[in-house]
């Protein structure tokens, strides 16, 4: 892996992630529209939104930490992309395993939390407190699932995990080997996206979109970009863990869009959970499923 | 040279009776005669000690041979205690000049004479006589402070020690009926056949409880808190520090020389454990300085009893180390208690008033609790290793109780330290806060220096104690020195 190739990969992977991420955002809004019998936004709508937000003349900032927060949010995910192996490009996946990836995905939420903290708006602080509690809620099943997969594959290196799954074609996929873990992983992934049933921390009615209350212009644009990255990373991570990664680009994208479509269609049919109910739900079903799944892995 | 050993008992005895007469003629001479006698006594012992004291020697009083006459058995252990008596007598000399100081000084001389006798005498009945003499002297001194509480305490102590001495007499009578002799060496020879039966054991137990009154043994030490709280601190220091150790020495001699039955050791162990538990926990509740020190000395002596209960003399070094350590620390603490006597709450913030007193208190508590470089730790270490070597569960129980007691001890001693260093309550004026001063502070710092000295040169002191212990354990040596003619008779 020569240096120049690696450099190209490090630049290309985030770009691909951004583009695919925007497609995923579009798919999400189209699914929502179709469920509500609406036509839904035009094809390039996410791009328009981002360009418009970045081009706004007023960029209200509450201080240096507010700016750094948004930069950390975007930067964290850009770094996380390079650890996610995609067909043809492995980036620096073997330099840091799956645990490092999970931690890198926590950096944006901490960066955002710092930025929102400086906005000095209680709505934002309440939103962040709920977001971190939600993170505590969905991270536990996620960690059980990751433990199960890593222990089954015997390594934390994502490339090897994918290699193990692709060895026997469909039978050796994570989902077929460990179905319970796959389901638990799906629920945990859905909660980590922070979409409809689990979006207590963006709750527009109660706390005026929580953390994003003081985010205008390029700050909101940065969060929209982060949302694209978030959708991409979560779905690709799920694909790598359970659906055997992508042999070629077409089936890789098909799998990740399908994986994302399931929670999206569930999302827009349910009202919002309260924080305690979110915790209770997340610590009851996915954790039970996960532990039983891990028990099977041990057997 | 050995003959003048008798002087160290005779002279104070003589002085005790002559003093009131001398007092009438001229005050000056009378005041200084007491300390002079004591200094002369110390000089004799020191001279004997320094002139190379290899073998123990037996002094027959009045020229009569041992089985009939009374002899003084002087080995390094006895000499150490005798020297301690003379020295502490001097240190705790009641210098206060009031109208009955003559009575107080003569009683003090009497007490010193009796104690030296207890340390040296080799005859059982002689021990009993000196024991009674010491008891009487203590009654006199304890009630000297004249307060109502002192009288009540002395009365209770009188009754208790009276019954105790009756029991001791019963025990001695039993022994005499069995063996026909009262000389310890002789008894040691006859003991294996005659006294190793249940009758012998009863005799020993009777003597144990009788003398136990003075040695603050568990059930019979109820007099301790009252006497120490009401008597003058100098007397209670002398009593707690030394007299209880001498009574203990008698029991030790009996245990080593005559009674080797395991039941005896077990009784002492059980009573020792109960003593430790009751002493330490009662001290935890104590709200008043002297009472707390009294309970703490009960606990410490309980520990020494546990050490004594170790089979075939393994605990000898521990007993010696613990008793000497307790002697120094308790006397120092009592000296501090002279000014800090009252309720503990009153002491709040007095560290600022008398920083040296507070530092000394912390030093003594640290050594009592067993902070490593200080001697207390080494004494505890020796006891702990011996206790852990035993197999029976009772000894392990003793070990556990000993450790827990140290924890309780640390917490109540350092609660006092915390109040000392705490900030004084707002309303107390600065001069109301008690300050340690004058002679008592001087003696306390003397003891503090002693503790630090022992801590620094712990190695030589350790070897010295080991030599003394070894010599004390050697029963045959005892018999041969006392009655060379009759040697070879014993086991």
């Amino acid at each position: 892996m020569s240096a120049t190739e690696l450099l190209i990969e490090l630049i290309l992977m985030p770009l691909v992630a951004f583009v695919v991420g925007m497609m995923m955002v579009l798919m999400m809004r189209r699914i929502a529209a179709k469920l509500q019998r609406r036509i839904g936004p035009p094809f390039f709508q996410p791009l328009y939104d981002i360009v418009k937000l970045h081009s706004k003349k007023t960029q209200v900032s509450h201080g240096l930490i507010h700016d750094i927060g948004i930069v950390m949010a975007m930067g964290g995910y850009i770094a996380a992309e390079t650890l996610l192996p995609v067909p043809g490009m492995n980036g620096i996946a073997e330099k840091g395993g799956i645990i490092t990836l999970l931690y890198l995905m926590m950096i944006p939420s901490l960066g955002l939390a710092l930025g929102v903290g400086q906005c000095a708006n209680p709505n934002g602080s309440i939103g962040i407190a709920r977001a971190l509690t939600a993170m505590l809620a969905y991270d536990i099943p996620l960690v059980i699932v990751v433990f199960g997969v890593a222990y089954a594959a015997g390594t934390t290196n994502l490339i090897d995990i994918i290699a193990v799954q692709q060895a026997g074609g469909f039978e050796t996929w994570g989902a077929t080997q460990m179905p319970l873990l796959a389901i638990a992983g799906l629920i945990a992934m859905h909660a980590s996206l922070g979409k409809q049933p689990f979006e207590i921390y963006i709750a527009p009615a109660e706390i005026a979109t929580g953390p994003m209350v003081e985010m205008g212009g390029k700050y909101l644009g940065g969060l929209f970009v982060m949302q694209c990255f978030q959708l991409y990373t979560t779905s690709v991570l799920y694909v790598c863990l359970f659906l055997g990664g992508g042999t070629n680009w077409f089936d890789f994208l098909l799998k990740s869009f399908l994986v994302l479509a399931i929670p999206m269609s569930i999302a827009y049919l349910f009202p919002r959970y309260r924080t305690e109910d979110l915790l209770r739900l997340m610590w009851k079903w996915p954790v039970m499923l996960g532990l039983i799944g891990v028990a099977f892995v041990f057997v | 040279m050995s003959t003048n050993l008798v002087l160290i008992i005779a002279l104070p005895l003589l002085g005790a009776f002559l003093l009131p007469v001398l007092m009438r003629s001229s005050m000056a001479i009378a005041l200084w005669s007491g300390p002079a006698i004591l200094i002369y006594g110390c000089w004799i012992i020191a001279d004997l000690w320094l002139s190379g004291f290899a073998q123990p020697l037996s002094v027959a009083i009045g020229g009569f041979a041992p089985p009939l006459g009374i002899n003084l058995y002087v080995d390094s252990l006895a000499l150490l205690f005798a020297f301690a008596v003379q020295l502490l007598g001097l240190v705790f000399w009641p210098f206060t000049l009031d109208q009955e100081s003559a009575r107080r000084q003569s009683l003090m001389l009497l007490l010193v004479a009796a104690s030296t006798g207890l340390a040296l005498s080799g005859d059982l009945f002689n021990l009993y006589v000196f024991y009674e003499l010491a008891a009487v002297a203590t009654f006199g001194l304890a009630s000297a402070s004249g307060s109502g509480a002192a009288y009540v305490a002395t009365l209770r102590y009188l009754i208790l020690s009276g019954i105790g001495s009756v029991l001791t007499l019963f025990g001695i009578a039993l022994i005499y009926s069995q063996t026909g002799t009262l000389n310890l060496a002789h008894l040691a020879q006859l003991a294996p056949e005659q006294l190793h039966n249940s009758l012998g054991l009863t005799a020993f137990l009777a003597i144990l409880i009788g003398i136990g009154v003075k040695a603050e043994l568990f059930p019979v030490n109820t007099w301790v808190p009252e006497i120490y709280a009401t008597a003058s601190t100098r007397l209670s220091a002398f009593l707690a520090g030394l007299l209880s150790k001498l009574a203990l020495l008698i029991i030790l001699r009996l245990l080593l020389l005559i009674f080797h039955q395991p039941e005896a050791a077990q009784v002492i162990l059980i009573l020792g454990i109960l003593g430790v538990i009751s002493g330490e926990l009662a001290a935890w509740r104590a709200r008043e300085m002297k009472r707390m020190l009294a309970f703490s000395s009960i606990g410490q002596l309980g520990m020494i009893f546990i050490a004594m209960a170790l089979p075939d003399g393994k605990g000898m070094l521990a007993v010696l180390a613990l008793s000497l350590h307790h002697l120094i620390i308790k006397s120092g603490l009592f000296m501090l208690a002279e000014d800090w006597g009252g309720a503990l709450e009153r002491l709040r913030g007095s560290a600022k008033a008398s920083p040296l007193g507070a530092v000394l208190f912390v030093l003594f508590s640290l050594s009592l609790v067993g902070m490593p470089p200080l001697p207390g730790f080494w004494a505890k270490f020796v006891l702990i290793t011996e206790l852990a070597a035993q197999v029976e569960p009772l000894y392990l129980l003793g070990l556990a109780v000993f450790l827990l007691a140290t924890v309780v001890e640390a917490s109540y001693l350092f609660r006092v330290a915390a109040t000392l260093y705490g900030s004084p309550a707002q309303d107390t004026l600065s001069e109301e806060i008690p300050k340690t001063k004058g002679l008592s502070l001087l003696t306390a710092s003397l003891f503090g220096a002693g503790v630090i000295a022992v801590a620094l040169l712990i190695a030589p002191v350790g070897d010295g104690l080991q030599a003394i212990a070894a010599q004390a354990l050697d029963v045959d040596l005892y018999i041969t020195t006392v009655s060379p003619a009759v040697s070879g008779g014993s086991q």
Partner: protein, 625 residues
Amino acid sequence: MMLTLLDELLLFSGATLLVALFIGRGLAAGWMVTILYGGQLLALLKMAVLGYEGGTIASSLTLEVMGQALSWRFDALSWFFALITIGSALLSSWFSCGAWERSYIRQGGNIWLFHTAMALNVFTMLILLASGDLLSLFIGWELVSWAGFLLMALAGGVAARAAMRYITYAMAGGMAIFGGLALIYTASGSLQLEAVTTAVEQMSGAKLWLLVILFGGGFGVKMGLMPFHLWQAPAYAETPGPGSAFLGAISSRMGLFAILLVLVKLFGIVKIESLKVPFTLIDARDLLAWIAVFTIILPTFTAMKQNDARHLLAWHGIGQGGYMLLGVVVADAMGGAGGLLHVFNHATYQAALFMAVTAVIYRTGTSDLNKLGGLVVRMPLSFVVLLIGIIGLAGLPPMNGFVSKWLVYRSLLNQGMPLLFLAAVIGTLGTILSVYKLIHNIFLGQLRVEHEHVSEAPWSMMIPMLILSAIIFITGLMPGIPLEWIASVLQTVGLPVPDYTLGGVESSSGSLDMIWVIGVLFAGFGVGALVFYSAGRSKRVHQLDNYAGGHFLSADVRYQYSDNFYAGLMHLIGGWYRGSFLWLERGITSLVEFLSLGMQGLYRRANAEFYLLTTALFVIAWVVI
């Protein structure tokens, strides 16, 4: 007798103590003591060969007391811990000189006593670390616990009460160790390390169990393991500023040093693993692991409820101690390295956090989280130090905390312990939540009117904090540096050694290279900044120009959310850990109270003679039967 390097170090430390003791009055005393600590560090670095190749340096002083031989020597393990001790002492005393010292004196503190206590603590810790055999270990242990008591009881009032509680726990622990020592002495005849290891070989199950419980319990008290952790938080929080930084960094890790020396080196993990808990399938190692894991979770969630910054950090100190023990107890290559690296990392960021909080107290006069807010605009450097500290404490990538936690997780993963892995992660998440509460309530949100004219902490306090944050970042970037020392420590203790590189750890089943990860992270930040700053210039607005649902904000309205920070979470799990073993402590104290009441009653009896006769009759009857 020739002065070995170890003698030099101990003499130097003794000299510092004497200097502090005798000329500690003047204001220059603080600087002098700091320079002497620097000297001690140089003396220690001269012995750096221990850290890299291992081996031991013996002290020329040997004592022969009461038939016990006492010797002192340094090996890689003690060198590693000594490095952390002297490092944190140097920085803490540097922090205490200058401005903080003046304010401490103005508030009536006794600065001479403070410097002496710190010097005494360092000196006693060095003696403990240099212990050559079990007896010198115990002596060092007692000295350290008493020196700790002095430093904690310094501030009087609440601190004195916390120190009293500490000393009761420490004495209980000390006596447990003393009992264990005695048992070993009888079994092996002497307290030298070699003799003890041979004796332990053929030790039977029950006796070894007793030893493990006694030693584990005794050392666990100092480390603040689960049942005995109640004393640590108030004691460390109430000590004056730099004192709490020093204590929080290293003091409770002495327990881990002793556990490493006794349980791991002498007994050996494999021996401990052989001890089975009757009719359950877990063995002693699992028991220790589960105690460590509970020590991680419960204190972390208690920390979340604290309203005082110092108490929050002190509770975290206990929680992180659990990670170290967990790493050491799992005892595979990654676990041991993880546990020990966590000792180093925790020392750095705990000291930095305590110093930052002390700087805030120095400037605003309070550490109550509900009375602060928005200080980032007035104390930016302290904010940076606290931020780097909390990233380290939470164990997130750029900082060193992440590397040691990653190692512990990998070892749990390799050994296949899902429940322990899960519990450790719950601990980490709990830490992330409560550290965000710390930084949000102090530095973010609305600035209070009375804090408008607060300025940055003075340079004498700021430099040590910045040095510590630099260390945190550098050891995060290149964990190879501390891992090298830890490799030789693992060899001396007898645990497997991972093959480390400068950037992290190389292994077949997934490796970590922090230089790459952090490089990519900062590249990502660069790209993010590029995108962010290419769009229009941002305009700063006043904190009252804020969305409030159409309400006109004014300065007298406190528009800040800080009380009951995680309401949702607390609503669900608030009731579970009310006092976390407070009931155990209260139970014991009331038992002792009750017993002592009984005993005192015994002595008040009037008819003492009745006792005398009954005992006499009882004894005689017993003899006759």
